[in-house]
Structures are given as C-alpha cells and as structure tokens.
Point group: C3
Chain length 343, copies 3
C-alpha cells in the first residue's frame, strides 16, 4: 500500500511525496525501510533521525525530519486505524463445524460460527456474527450476544449472560463456582452458587482469567471493562464501566468497583470492599477498606499514593535513620555525662 493511499484512508495530512510502498507498522527503533513508525510523545523526536522507517505518524509536523509525515489529530486513534490496515488476514470460519456438538434446544444464529469440537449445551443462545472458537464449552441456558469472539477453549458455565461485542480469549473460565464455604459438621461445606455472571457489552477478557458466578444475583462486569490475563474476579463482585484490570489482579468476593477504575498488575482487594469511580490501584496494592473516588493508592493495606511513597522513601533509607538514632543516643549520653559531672 502506498503511503499516499494510507494518508487518504487515515484522513491525514501528508508531508512528503508518499510514493513508498508500505508493508507494516513498527516502533521508531525497530521500523524497517518499508514500515511506518509513530510518534506518541515529543520527547522521542530526537530518535526519529536514527530511524530507518519509511514515514512517521505525528499529531503535529516535525521540523527537520527526513522522512515523510502523516499528520493526524490523534496519533493514538490513527495508529489503531493504521494497524487495522495491516492486520493479518485469516481464513473466515463458517457456520457450525461438523465436529461441534450443539444440543438441539440451543439456538445458534445462522451468522454465528461454532468451531471444531466446541460444545453448546441445552438452551444456550448465540447471537449474530458471534464466533465461538475451537473446543469452547458453553453451559446450559447461557446467552451470548452479537459480534462476540470467544477464542479456543473458553469455558462459560450455565446461566451466564455475555453481552454484545465481548471478547474472551483462550482458556478463560466464566461462571465457575466461587470459593465460598461454611465450616459445618467438621468440614468446609460449599455454599451453593445459584447466581450467574453478567458481562455487559464490550467487555474484553484476556487468556486464562477467571470470573466466578455469584452465590445470589450475578457477578457483574460493567460495559467496556477490559481484563488482562490470569485475573481472578470472585463471586458477587460488581464492577462499573470502562475499568482496566492488568495481569494477576485478584478481586475478592462481593467487592464493588466503580466506573473507570484501574487495577495495575497483581493488585486487588479484600472482600466486601468499595472502590470509588476513577480510583487507581498501583502494582501489588490491596484495597482492604473503602477507596475514595479518584484516589490513587499503593501498598498493603492500600492507602493514598503520596503517603505510601513518603513512607517507602524513608523505608529505603531506614538503615541510615537507625544509625542516626544510635548517634543521637550517643550524643545524649555525652550531654548527660557532662551534666552528671557538673552535678
């Protein structure tokens, strides 16, 4: 594809002749001679001169730049469009594969796809344009909306509701029974989990993540929330819209998460905690009590990031503080000795 054609498709202002044949997109450092690169921050302008890229995506023209430039309103937005132009073209799956098992009472839209070896239980409903990957297993009476993509080996248990435009990647598990036991008659007895899981529209789940079903009502993941790999979301958790949960996050039972909350890697919460809209939990932070809207927190137990960083900063020099205290002790001793001598 010519650079000039790309400029047209991205509605970008082209600086340069745009006659290069472009084969892909890469970072400034790694882009080869037929690849485009992109500038996400002014601080990388200097690195452009060392790049062999065929052109660069920018949000304002760069002076003294040898390569062609595509000037767009937002590099982030245009980069997505640009990458879509070069997405690998995969063979379209079609209909229900003959090796898939679809129970007779299940309803699979004629435009949906069910991969080899997948199992669709009784009463399941799969919406238009949804793709169920190879060897998936969808439990009884679960509904999956339109334009969803469930990759290979996804398991969704019974009585769950997956909205529209949802993505669940390989080996993730939705709707397993949560970790809820009562100690009765000398043993841990499972509390039946009669509830389900609801993923609202546009929820995306990574690979090997788990979202447990509710004891009562539903575990709920709000619209547009994105979940990374190996994330654990326990029974009866409720999340708001547009949250982000990075790898290894763990949210304990019945915790209520607001809208737009960000969980960094390996962060999480105790059970029955409330986390306000727009809160941010840093890496390994664990919310053990209420987190205020907009608050950024760190640590176990999680607390305001500024307080935690101040403590951490002293912590990092604790040996010096301890030494200082020891020396103060000696100086006091001397003063006391002087005083006693005088007495």
């Amino acid at each position: 594809m010519l650079l000039s054609e790309i400029a047209t498709k991205l509605q970008a202002q082209l600086i340069g002749d745009g006659q290069q044949d472009i084969t892909g997109v890469n970072t400034i450092a790694d882009a080869g001679g037929s690849e485009l690169c992109f500038l996400t921050s002014a601080k990388y302008v200097k690195t452009l001169s060392q790049s062999t890229a065929a052109g660069v995506l920018v949000d304002k023209p760069v002076d003294d730049c040898d390569m062609d430039q595509l000037v767009v309103a937002s590099v982030d937005a245009a980069l997505i469009s640009l990458l879509k132009l070069f997405e690998p073209i995969l063979t379209a799956a079609e209909g229900v594969h003959p090796t898939a098992v679809v129970e007779p009472t299940a309803s699979v839209d004629s435009s949906a796809t069910v991969g080899p070896g997948a199992y669709i239980a009784h009463g399941v409903c799969v919406g238009p344009d949804t793709i169920i990957g190879p060897n998936c297993s969808i439990g009884e009476n679960t509904t999956i909306g339109s334009s969803c993509r469930l990759d290979s080996h996804v398991v969704v248990y019974h009585n769950c509701q997956i909205g529209n435009f949802c993505v669940i990647q390989a080996n993730s598990t939705i709707g397993a029974t949560g970790f809820g036991y009562s100690f009765v008659d000398g043993a841990h007895r499972l509390i039946p989990h009669n509830g389900g899981v609801i993923l609202e529209d546009g929820v995306e789940i990574g690979s090997n993540s788990c979202i447990d079903r509710a004891k009562f009502g539903n575990t709920l993941i709000g619209a547009g929330t994105k979940v990374d790999n190996l994330v654990q979301i326990a029974h009866n958790v409720q999340t708001g819209k547009c949250c982000l949960m990075a790898g290894h996050v763990g949210i304990s039972g019945s915790t209520k998460v607001g809208n737009g909350v960000v969980f960094a890697g390996a962060s999480g919460s105790s059970d029955h905690v409330e986390i306000g809209d727009g809160a941010v939990l840093g890496a390994q932070a664990v919310a053990t009590g209420k987190i205020e809207p907009g608050q950024t927190v760190l640590g176990l137990p999680a607390r305001d990031v500024r307080r935690e960083l101040k403590s951490k900063s002293v912590y990092r020099n604790l040996p010096e503080l301890a030494k200082e205290v020891k020396q103060l002790g000696k100086r006091i001793e001397k003063l006391e000795a002087t005083k006693n001598n005088k007495n």
Copy 2:
C-alpha cells in the same frame, strides 16, 4: 415454594404465617419481595427494617421484625440447605458421549458420565457417579474415584489418583511436570518427574489452578482441602486435611502444610518449608521458614501477625518518625551549643 414448606424442610421454627411464595435467596440488601434473606451476624439486625425480603433466616428470633422469620440452629448450615432448594436444575448428562474418546483399556463405570470431546487414555479408571465434563483430558493410568465432578477442559496427567467426592473446575491442570531443572552442560535440564499427584477425598479445586506432579512419590492434597482459582501448588508439596487456599496462592516445591491451614489471597511459601496445623497466612504473606502450628503470619518473610502489624503501623507513619529524629537532632545540637558556650 411456600415459606412454610421451606420451614419444614429446614426443620426451622417459623415465626409468621409462612404463606408467601418464595422464589429464591439473596442478601438483606438485595433480596426482592419474593426472596428470603439471612442474618449471619447481630450487627446487621438494623438493616433488616430496610429490606423488602419476604422473610429472614436467623439463629434466634429478632424482636420488632416485620418479616417472617425462620429460626434455625445454625444460619450457615441452614443457608446451604436453603440454597440447595433453589439450585438451577440442569439437564443431567448421561453415559459416554459419542464424541468422547475412551481408549479400550480404560474403565469407565456405567453410572459415570463422560462429556463431548473428552479424552480418556489407556488404563484410566473412572468410578461410579463421576462426571467428566466436555473436552476433559485424562492421562494414562490415572484413577478417579466415585461421585467426582471434573468440569470442562480439566486436564489430569498420567498416574494420578483422584479420590471420591472431588471437584475440579474448568481449565485446571493436575499432574503437569514441575519446575525442576539442574544446570548441566550449559543448559537447564529437566529433572524427570516420575511421581504423581494424589487428591484425597473431598478435595475441591477451582478453575485455572495447577497442581504439579512429584519428582519422587506424590504431590499430596489432603482430604477436604479446598483450593481456589489460579493457585499454583508445586511438585512434592504435601498438604494436610481441610486446608483453604485462596486465589493466586503459590506453594513452592516440597513444602509440607499441616491440617486446617489457611492461605489468604496471593500468599505462599518458599520451597521445603514446614507450615504447622491451623496456621493462617495473610494476604501476600510468604513463608520462608517454619511456621508454628496455630500461628497467624503476615509479610515477606512471613512472621507473627502482631509483630508485623506493629512494624507496619510504624511504617505507615515513618515520615513523621524521620521528622521527629531530625528535630531531636536539632534539639541536641542546641544543647551541645549551650554546653560548649558554657565551657
């Protein structure tokens, strides 16, 4: 089901006329007009007046309560029975699904179920009333007892022994080779894992968890132990009976865990550690040495919770402590100056 019928089934004392039709169970806060709620602690009594529930499960009668009451000896125990009355009714699986592959030397009890696409290798033995879910894979010579439930996509490797009444949820892996390498001739060489895994009776494993096989002998999970999602149990770990391991727990190789040990979320241990009966590891705690029976520990390395909380408490105000030390320094300086002046 009428509330009065439920009272009979739970052998509960009914306070009220019990003529409401009950459709389910929910929390005090969320129970709708045809749902029962339950009171697990006296501190929530006040919230009952705001509830629209049709009735409440209690362990002693509540005064001034508008709703009907079911008085039972133990709310925890009765709640389990109550929830079972309302469990969703799923289609019973039956026999070996025609798409399952069962090797001829495997033995599957006639009352057992093998789901679509499951693979049962040579010499496997599946006991009575056990349900093997869709697309499971059971390795050679593994035995699975009676009344077990393996959900979709569970993998059990060869030569493992699953007891009776065990549950393994979706996408969990039992018996993979552990992470044991020796550096020989310039590369990490795998140490063969000739051992297996034993899950004793009543063990329950969540989804996407891993229990590795042993190098020698067996990795052993004691009877009645319950394991949550995304838990890693390494080769040759031995756990006692009735332990609880929450999400993201990681127990390193050859660690010996006593009876009734509780691992909170993301806690774990180094390898070859001993953890005594009834010990409790708090969230993110890592046992790096022996933990005494009954000890509750926190931190990395894990130590007595009281000590750790005291350190943590000072830590949280470290900036103030550092400031105090600085001020003491200044006051000493002044005293020293006075002394010097006097000399």
Copy 3:
C-alpha cells in the same frame, strides 16, 4: 534392575556388591528398601544412616556408610539419567487421531502426532517427532518445529513460531492479544496486535501460562528459557537465553530481559524495563527501572538485595526504633529542663 546394572548405565563407580533389585528413586528421607537415594550436599551425610534406601548416588565416597554407593562426577547430572531409567512407560501416540481436525492446507510431518480433538488450522506446519496433545488448538500459519511436545489443551494462536525441542504444558496460551488499549472517543479501544510470538529452541512452558503476541514484530522467548505455571508474559517482551521464571511471575509489555535472568515466584517488572544478563529477581520483586547485569534485587520497586535486606531488617524492629526515639526525646527533655533550671 540390579544396582550393578544401573552403575554401568550411569558410568558410576560402584561401592558394594550391587546385587539389589532397584525399583525407583526417592529422597534420603522417603526412599524405601528397593529405592535409590541421592546426596546433593555434604550437610545431609548424617541423614544417610537413618535411610532405608538400597543405595545412594554420591559425588565422592562417603565413609562409614552402610549402603551401596554409586560414585559419579555430578550427582545432578547422574540423577537425571537415573530418573530416566525409571520413567513410567506410556503408550506411544501415533499419527493424527481420527477425531483431530487438520485443515487441508496444514502440513503435519508423518512422524508427528496429533491427539484426539485437536484442531490444526490452515497453513500450520508441524515438524517431525512433534506431539500435539488432545484438544490442542493451533492457529493459522503457526509453525511448530521438531521434537516438541504440546500437552492437552494448549492454545497457540495464529502466526506464531515455536522452535525445536520446545515443551508447552496443559492449558497454556501462546499468542493471545495483549493488554494494549488507547482511550479514544470515550472508550478503551484495542490496539491491533499484528505481531506474533517466537519461542526459540528448547523453551519450556508450564501449565496455565500466557505469552501474549506482539503489537509489532514478535514477543520473543530466548532459547533454553524455562517458564513455570501461571506466568504472564506480556506483548513485545523479549527475553534472552536460559532464563528461569517461576510461578506467578508477570512481565509487563516491551520489557527486555537479558540472558540467564532468574525470576523467583510472583516477581515481575513494569513495562519497558531493561533487565541485564544474569540478574536475579527475588520473590515478589518488581523491576520498575533498569536492573544491572548480575544484580540480585528485591522489593517494590526492586533494588539491590543487600540494601533491601538492610531496610527490611530495620523494618522488622521498627516498633523498638520508634520506642527508642521516644525515649531519646524524653532524655532530651530532661536535659533541656536542667538547662532551663540553671538559666
């Protein structure tokens, strides 16, 4: 197998008559009367006298030892050979199972094995002697080299390259789309991941681990690197050769890891971090900036182990330090009072 035969196979010097029939290998503590044990460190010599083992593998003769000895140059190396002699013999899989689905444009070497229910997409290439386990799913145009073993339920997405002699254990996911979003027009929009994943020769991946595909270029795992269970390796990570990553490790996007780096359990890194050759990250350490070659680090943020341990050591006695500071304050007060009295 007679102990003397084993001595021959291991090219070991035999001390004793070697006429015992040996049935397996176990630790000094657990080896039964027909099992061999092994001595990896001189500090365990004393325990030999309590062992009932039939013989012991040593790297130099042990005095006053009742049992037969096999003296080898390296116990670690010989133990691997020894264990291989006793590996359970499993039924060899053969060819493509009739229930596997192999798309017509895929190429599976005639010496390779494809298990029941596995799905091999268009354009996939599977090399000689490679074993694809039951219910695996291999995405379009992915190539898998020779002598690899993919256990049950492994998912490899499209356009990935698995080298030779690689092992991927059950329920692991290679090549899922990474966690890369831009916030555009009021929602998190996925950045297309046009790149792939490369596992070089001899890479071994545990169970339920995830290696995400790259946005551009490839996520790269260097030759001989070994990855444990439940590990998350994000998009565009590049690792060197012969690294070790233990359970629950999480490496964020675009991080560059040198050769021979060791990640202990639940350690990890922020994104775009550089970790030098031979660095070691302790348990739960998180590299948030450059780690120098050969450096051992601990903590969040990770820093030199000696510094961190010194801080930790003071931390563990912080209550005493705080008390000391308080007492110093009182002593200063007294001194000040004396001074004031004198004035």
